[in-house]
Amino acid sequence: MIQEKLHEEIHNFPTAKLSVEHVCKDFVTNNGTVVRALDDVSLTINEGEFVCFVGPSGCGKSTLLNIIAGLEKPDSGMALIDGTPITGPGRDRMMMFQEHALFPWLDVIGNVMFGLKQKPNLNNKERLEVAKYYLYLVKMDRFAHANIHELSGGMRQRVALARSLAPNPKILLMDEPFSALDAMTRERLYGDIQDVWEKRRKTIIFVTHNVREAVCLGSRVVLFSPHPGRVREEFPVHLPRPRNINNHDLADLSQEITSALKGYTAAESD
């Protein structure tokens, strides 16, 4: 009975279609000037798609992610999940931040359990099993009872990934989750995240500054430009998986995208 329920909990992969329609967002800075963080942004992201957002600093990537997460409201336009407008945060969308945001007063498994505890249909024993499964998935099961400060940066991001995956969200939002890590650790995590995506088939939005990272992970790369924040161009990526970031074709495509990106950053400064 328990086994069946757990099986269902773990082996059911909900995903969702996300649409962003004409979203605008302004911020008023301290000295009173208005910054247009997002200007009429529209996007459609299909079920189970892995999309990467790339763009220079300040082009509204985090703002858009926060709007999708329900942490912020657009000034006009809206974001919809499977046709339902987003009005606030929800368990169907989990967010992973640049800083790991793990809770230092809980141990590793306690952190993974935090989101699960908000799910009413499970009892505590089942939650523990689910949490262990996700720790195993990110190869952190041996550290279930470690304190957060005892983990390396890469391990912390793995735990953060397990914590976001555990409530089985339809959409995973990742805001530069690997930018604070060294290149070696990052490469290993690219493998892990692709593996997780193959296994769990979630809709993933991944924000990064690193074009190569985006091409390595995404099935589509969306380019943003700043002042005001806009979607400029989209590149589908058809390379076979699992992808290695040092692959030749991957490097070529990154090159192409990088020059496109440079194109309008240069135009901007003219």
Binding site: G70, L71, M94, A101, N147, I148, P167
Partner: protein, 263 residues
Amino acid sequence: MKRILITLSFFLLLIFIWAALTGDLAFIGVDISLWSPYVLPPPSTVGHYLWDNTLNGKIPLSMLITLRRLLIGYAIGLVIGVPLGMVSARFRCINDTLGMLALGLQALPSVCWVPLACIWFGQTEVALLFVVIMGTLWSVLLSTQNGMKNVPPIYARAARTMGSSPIHTLVFVTLPASAPFVVSGMKQGWAFAWRSLMAAEIYVSVISGFGIGQYLHYGRELQRMYQVIGIMFIIILVGLLADKILFSPLESWLHRRWGTGKD
């Protein structure tokens, strides 16, 4: 082990000097008594006093009475102070009013409340409790408020994306995240409560129970300096024990979890 030895021999040296200065070591030929035993009694007299009055139950009883006042007053101070601190951190208008009041009253040594407490409540338990609460409340309130304000907003954001309601976030995220601040405030509150209770007991005689402070007061009235010094030892002991039993385990747990501090 070596450190314990150093500590121990330091205190033995202090007692040795005290004994030498008060004639307790006359039997080995060391006697440099500078003061009369009325001014500085020898350790043996103080020891006798403590021993006798522990055996006849007077000191244990007064400790019980004092600790009961302290614990009840402290608990009330915490129960009021922590939620008020949380509310004050959350709402600016409460921060600007109650927060300012707390800041002002925290600067007031709580023994200053004694005269008012005696007028309002008479020479009763309530007057003593009131003074203890005034000693605890404001510092607990302020440190809770300060702790909550210092919690990185990302914790609350992360919790909210995981489906945590605002109240749930407040209790299960913001409050534990501010635990290091709250605990240090609790410790400070405890120290203030203890000091203010001693001051109040020395100051006011309450017929409902004879606390430790009152023994110290009567020691002075009766010119029994050995009693005064004996009671001072008891007061120090209670303070140290509270620190070791109540706060040390809590703090070392915090340090282990947060990975802060050493030793």
